[in-house]
Symmetry: C2
Subunit: 754 residues, 2 copies
């Protein structure tokens, strides 16, 4: 029982090294699972496990029987109808981003929903087309089937191009579905954690910029070829501005009016959210109105605007994807698969947290994968979820994916029966509606300033992601951004703040000595703290900082001492030095300093521990040496390394650390390591870190333990020798330190010399 | 002064929260440099600085005047001659790897040495061709100028192809020189730290495998086209084995004999290193012997073997690189620039550590960059340093780059005068000599086993690097390996070992509670330690682990409590509950449990702090509640998070942490954070982490401080109320905790109810 004594921190216990602590407090022998145990566990097979996996594969089995029909069905139907109408309009609008005829957007809003109903684990997201993803598919489409550059834009030609494009979109969707399915089966759902908030924010903002640029051609009614190369956005803008005089004014005016109306009404919806019974369905109203005006004024013939045109009624027969196309779009498929999943998962997570139910990332991958495989087979394009549409589904009361099914029924009705009503709507109206949804994404620019003040790294990630995705394209941009983000983590871990600590307040608190006036540093002791993991990328930095903190390079000191020893030996041989009880006395008059040349063997010798056994006397390096012999002065006797923040140490770092510690030990400086993590010693032991020079006994529980140990040792060392000998046999910790004491025992005090 | 009391750790001081400690010990106001200060400092300009930079650009100015002529010149000359002979042979052999005529290898061994003499900072490396780099240049060469596939291999055709290849090799060398120069000027010398030992070892082993495969065609004298595509090594092997019957037996036999002799003699050199006055110059002997035999037996005509042939005497006129080629090999140039520099720097570092002189990474980049620019202009190919040749230069006594200049003179003599002597040497002999140097690199396979036992991550890095470099090619392989290595650092930081700590030995030591029997956990207190930085990739993991450690999800508890409150309010209104001095008494008989439906607004309400101000009585959640109302039982009152290993916290993590802390605080659990790093609080303050619920006073110096604080608080809370009130006004820390105490003051003890 720990008893508080007033508001006081009172502790009295033995000074603990790790070894001593282990002796006093027996450690339980726990079996730590090995790599193979984990592997076995992972592939373990039991009836329960099989059943659980099977049920997990079909979440619908769990939730459908528990459906509270009377309570939920009404709100699911209301939500489903609302979502369905939005899905139809978005499907048409986003199909323009893919560069396929609008009708194919409806397939993308239909098939994946059916699959998600059976396999999905989120209850609230609305599966279907998503602008960024549509844009990515569109980029592949225009790369593989570019606009006809010859200029003879006959209708036959257009329809051939359209057919090819539908084929490409379907194939890339199919392939990305395959990738998602594979990732799901291989349990790679965790990859989303590498997409941080700043990265997603920067990426979606860049995507919004791409959408805006790509919609310009519909709003101005210009023929712009697709560029899917790095810096393609610049080429696109150049192409648009070079033919800006050919703008179709009717389309431009319609677009601007629609944009204005949509923005204003959305603003009203936001501001009077609480007072309105339901948000005004402005997209629906605008589409109906625009359709009516266009039909009665006959925009198509009078002003030569592009309209949606007759949608193909019913479904297309399913097709096998084209292997030739598949080979050309592997890279695109991978990025589509990952982006589609990442966006859907992050939206789904918002709702799963809000309504408190579990999500399964791997199962989501499987659901989207199968959805895209089916969608691709029926000539749809890649689907994920649109934030705005999911917002509609959830806010209008959707409880489960029953609402999704209802929305699919609405889409089905449009596909099968009433598609013709949409025929006179201008494409520019659809483009403006797609832009109307981007306000939120574009507003994310504001985040840059906030992030800069709060976390420089996050801000840089945002900016790099944005610029990479805008200029290099969404796929290469995403890869670059993720690589850059990983690099920032490494850099953050890599620049440790190395500080020299000192005792503050005369108790057991050690803080940066630069921060306080009221500090106490034990004489001859340096306490050095490294506040990050140590690994290949920062071990050299760590070594440099340590050397600059102690003020000398141990290797250089060792070599100088060994050189001095060699010289003393030579001088003794020549009789230039005489051993007297008072120390070494120099006989020669003029001794030149000479830096003798060394071959390789002698350099290696210089790095060995100083060996004085053959000398008739022990040299005290801090005392006056014979003339002509100088060694650097070392004013510390102990170093304490605080490793409490060193969460790991890799093999490269371990080797350098070992070498550095040895160099210090060889010039008679005691090294202690305090606050090492659980398991740290075991790992060092396994890697043969310890030997005759570096012993596990250098590990202490805390800095204060190490400091107390050092102070006590110095106390004993400065007492008469008899006392030392007594202690030596009885207490444990002195034996291990005899190395540090040896040279001192034999010291000839400075005062008595010469 | 800290006085050791025997071998005891004795401390008595106040319990310190960070705030209290700051009050007691005044902090110095240090000015921390901002980003702009650093920028200004970096671009600061002073006469001293300009002079230092200028001297740094030409290291030769510093070391040449200090050259000790009489002492050093002899060993430099001996070393230079030895190195020069090796350089000639290696130049010829490595030129085969580049797929250019052997003579061009001599240029690569000449020009860069001159430049390095002036600009380089290492005194011991021998600049010149390096097999891996030659191979990388060779891959570019065969990609841009493939072997003539038509088969009509006339000599005119061959010479045209050779000319084009020399041009490509020179251009890619020139461009990589430009990149190195740019990197050096932009101070990017630090990039080498991302190439860890395991990565370099795996990469060079893979390079050795590539060298072996690429030399097979010379040893067997087969025509194999170059494949520089992913999995190219497989195509090459396929091509070799498909025509293995056409092997030139003479070449094969010669190769095997040469290989055998070289291996055996090298083994002898190694084993009797100490006894031999100098290593046997086996390469030289073999070349001379092979040349003589070939000349007198007339191998070329008799057995149709390929020989070195007449070397072009003298130098080629310098040429401007071909812009068309430059555009096609930007990627290759970047990887050649980086690999070349990385290898040279790591070799140079070995010697700089051994002989204790400083190296400047940026200056090395400049030196190699200029060397390659000059070399490329004179039709040489990319140079770096070969480990074996540098070994010769250093071990035969080279002291400075004067030895390098002498070796260049030897190469010059061969180029200008005696090149014709090498004409009859078989190409297969050169190939075998190149292979003879690879034993060391191939022996690195042994490291895999050692690494696996010592550090799994390092082992995986080795294997991934090796496989990627072998199968994807050296350039893509290197990029993949570096990206993978960065990922491992992230993964290591990302999987924190989260542990629940307990007091061991009744003093101030807290350890993993699973490891000891003799532990004490204060009642109702969880001490949770996260042993790694917390950032976007592991914050969710951290949250999950924390929730599983405390045993409940705070958000769920909060929602249940708020739902229960709502129900109690309703029941009070209906009169089903009555307030009595003894607590709430239930009047109704049968109350059904119903999970009422909630719209969005009410869900948000559920996440707010419980508000009991409108109720006539305060609810004690741990006591019996009226029938029909249940809330999860919470058996802890305080959580201590040990943040002493959390070296950084990014913005995403901070937001999630804030939310999590709030959820705990809202269900009346006190959260404390112990051992936070220097500057941690300031950063949180800056990011608006603190508000009315989360206060800076939750930060304590150590776990033990926090535990003592909690114990004291509980002591006071369980004492009569008067005492609490007294304390409240006098002491600082209780006020901040009134939130936690409020509900407890109003508790109706469980025993007195019903």
């Amino acid at each position: 029982m720990v008893e508080p004594v007033g508001n006081q921190y009172v502790v009295a216990r033995p000074v603990y090294s790790e070894n001593l602590f282990d002796e006093d407090h027996e450690k339980l022998h726990r079996y730590h699972k090995t790599f193979w145990d984990h592997l076995k566990l992972y592939f373990r097979c039991s009836p329960q496990r099989v059943k659980k996996t099977a049920l997990g594969l079909f979440p619908v089995i769990s939730w459908l029987p528990a459906y509270r029909f009377r309570e939920w069905i009404l709100s699911d139907i209301v939500s489903g109808i609302n979502t369905g109408l939005v899905a139809v309009l978005q499907g048409l609008a986003f199909a323009l981003l893919v560069n396929v005829p609008p009708g194919y957007g409806l397939y993308a809003a239909f098939f994946p929903v059916l699959v998600y109903f059976i396999f999905g684990t989120s209850r609230h997201i609305s599966v279907g087309p998503f602008p960024v993803l549509s844009l990515m598919v569109g980029a592949t489409v225009t790369r593989l089937v570019p606009d006809d550059s010859t200029g003879n834009d006959t209708s036959t030609n257009t329809s051939t191009i359209d057919e090819e494009r539908v084929m490409v979109a379907a194939s890339v969707t199919f392939l990305s579905g395959i990738f998602q399915l594979l990732l799901g089966i291989l349990q790679f759902g965790f990859i989303v954690i590498y997409l941080s908030q700043s990265l997603i924010s920067g990426f979606t903002t860049a995507a919004a910029v791409h959408v805006v640029v790509s919609q310009l051609k519909f709003m101005l009614q210009l023929t712009v070829p697709g560029y899917n190369v790095p810096f393609g956005i610049i080429y696109t803008l150049k192409s648009i501005f070079s033919q800006i005089t050919e703008t179709n004014i009717t389309d431009l005016v319609t677009s601007l009016i629609v944009l204005l109306i949509v923005f204003v009404v959305k603003e009203i919806n936001d501001r009077y959210k609480a007072k309105l019974p339901a948000p005004i369905p402005i997209e629906l109203l605008v589409t109906v109105l625009a359709g009516l005006i266009s039909y009665f004024v006959n925009f198509e013939e009078k002003f030569n605007v592009a309209v949606v045109g007759t949608l193909e009624e019913g479904f297309q027969v399913p097709i096998a994807p084209d292997v030739g196309i598949l080979q050309k779009c592997i890279g695109d498929s991978i990025s589509i698969a990952i982006v589609g999943f990442a966006v859907a998962f992050s939206v789904a997570k918002v709702y799963s947290v809000k309504h408190d139910y579990p999500l399964d990332g791997n199962q989501e991958l499987i659901a989207f994968g199968l959805g895209n495989i089916l969608g691709g087979s029926f000539k749809g394009f890649a689907s994920s979820t649109a934030l705005s549409r999911s917002g509609v589904q959830e806010s209008t009361g959707g409880k489960t994916q029953i609402a999704g099914i209802i929305s699919a029924v609405i889409v089905l009705i449009v596909i099968m029966a009433i598609g013709f009503l949409l025929a006179p709507v201008q494409k520019s109206v659809l483009a403006s509606l797609a832009l109307g949804n981007l306000k939120g994404m574009l507003m994310q620019f504001k985040e840059v300033g906030i992030l800069w003040r709060k976390d420089k790294y996050d801000c840089v990630i945002w900016v790099v992601t944005f610029l990479a995705a805008v200029f290099l394209g969404l796929d290469i941009g995403l890869a670059t951004a993720v690589a850059f983000q990983l690099l920032t983590v490494v850099i953050r871990s890599q620049i440790p703040s190395c500080t020299v600590l000192a005792n503050v307040g005369r108790s057991n608190i050690y803080r940066n000595r630069k921060d306080y006036t009221d500090i106490y540093e034990p004489e001859g002791v340096k306490i050095f703290r490294c506040s990050s993991p140590i690994f290949f990328a920062n071990i050299d930095f760590f070594r440099e900082k340590l050397i600059s903190a102690v003020g000398f390079n141990p290797m250089r000191v060792l070599r100088k001492r060994n050189k001095a020893l060699r010289k003393i030996r030579k001088m003794l041989k020549k009789g230039e030095l005489q051993v007297t009880p008072k120390g070494l006395i120099c006989m020669a008059n003029n001794i030149q300093e000479s830096d003798e040349e060394l071959d390789n063997n002698s350099i290696e010798e210089l790095d060995q521990p100083t060996n004085m056994t053959d000398l008739p006397i022990q040299i005290d390096w801090s005392a006056d040496l014979p003339p002509g012999i100088t060694v650097p002065q070392v004013d510390i006797h102990s170093i304490i390394l605080d490793f409490s923040s060193v969460s790991f140490l890799d093999f490269s770092a371990m080797r350098v650390l070992q070498k550095t510690l040895k160099e210090f030990i060889r010039i008679d400086i005691d090294i202690y390591i305090a606050g090492a993590h659980e398991g740290f010693l075991d790992k060092l032991e396994r890697c043969a870190f310890f030997d005759e020079e570096i012993k596990p006994s250098i590990f202490f529980l805390t800095i204060h333990d190490a400091v107390l140990h050092i102070l006590l040792k110095k106390d004993i060392a400065s007492s008469p020798k008899v006392k030392l000998m007594e202690k030596d046999s009885s207490s444990d910790y002195i034996i291990t330190l005899s190395n540090g004491l040896r040279s001192r025992e034999c010291t000839i005090p400075t005062e008595t010399k010469l």
